[in-house]
């Protein structure tokens, strides 16, 4: 896949892809540090992200690459791309335009709190 993706061999060699050829991606807002979403990339999506600074992913359900915001307008400008210690997860630090979540929420983690801080109480 790397040969066709154009991804630099020294980066491709450090990736530990899953059985579908993908690495996990965590996307974080620059400045606030909010975790916006989690997604997947193949080599070509990573290469597209590195060269264009537009967050680009691989949809497992649709079986194709997609550029975040291409249809919604909720684009991501990518400031940093980091690879984790075992090479199977990428961290993007981005400026997110409008909501990152397809539901309209700011992040994909806004709606469903399973456990809250011990000392605080929820109102409303």
């Amino acid at each position: 896949m790397s040969e066709e993706s154009g991804l630099a061999p020294e980066i491709a060699a450090r990736l530990k892809r899953n059985e579908d050829g993908l690495v996990a991606v965590v996307v974080q807002q620059r400045g606030t540090g909010e975790v916006l979403m989690m997604a997947w990339m193949d080599d070509a999506a990573l290469q597209h992200t590195l060269t264009t600074r537009r967050g680009t992913y691989y949809s497992r359900s649709r079986g194709q690459r997609w550029v975040k915001g291409e249809t919604s307008g909720h684009t991501q400008y990518v400031h940093e791309v980091r690879l984790d210690c075992d090479g199977d997860t990428v961290l993007l630090v981005v400026d997110q335009r409008d909501g990152a979540c397809h539901t309209g929420d700011h992040t994909c983690f806004d709606a469903d709190l399973l456990l809250g801080p011990e000392e605080e109480h929820a109102f409303g």
Copy 2:
């Protein structure tokens, strides 16, 4: 798996597990927002995390559950647990004691920068 895990049925029903029965987990430092690590949970690991507030995961390579810091002492106190919009990723907000990464680094994303900010230059 839920029956044995003790996980509340209303939570178990919202999880969209992968073919190995796992959900992805993003772990973030409280306050700073740093993304510390990415890992996986089965139902029992999530239940253990919710009830003990100690970050508990499932190791795919070892095929067993593990409590972060159990051997290293680098424990995590869990302040918040959130589920994402499609139920396949959990976000933990934690207080991390010492380094989160098995390499000794503070986070698993410290060592390998694939792309840096456009305006800045790297020295050293």
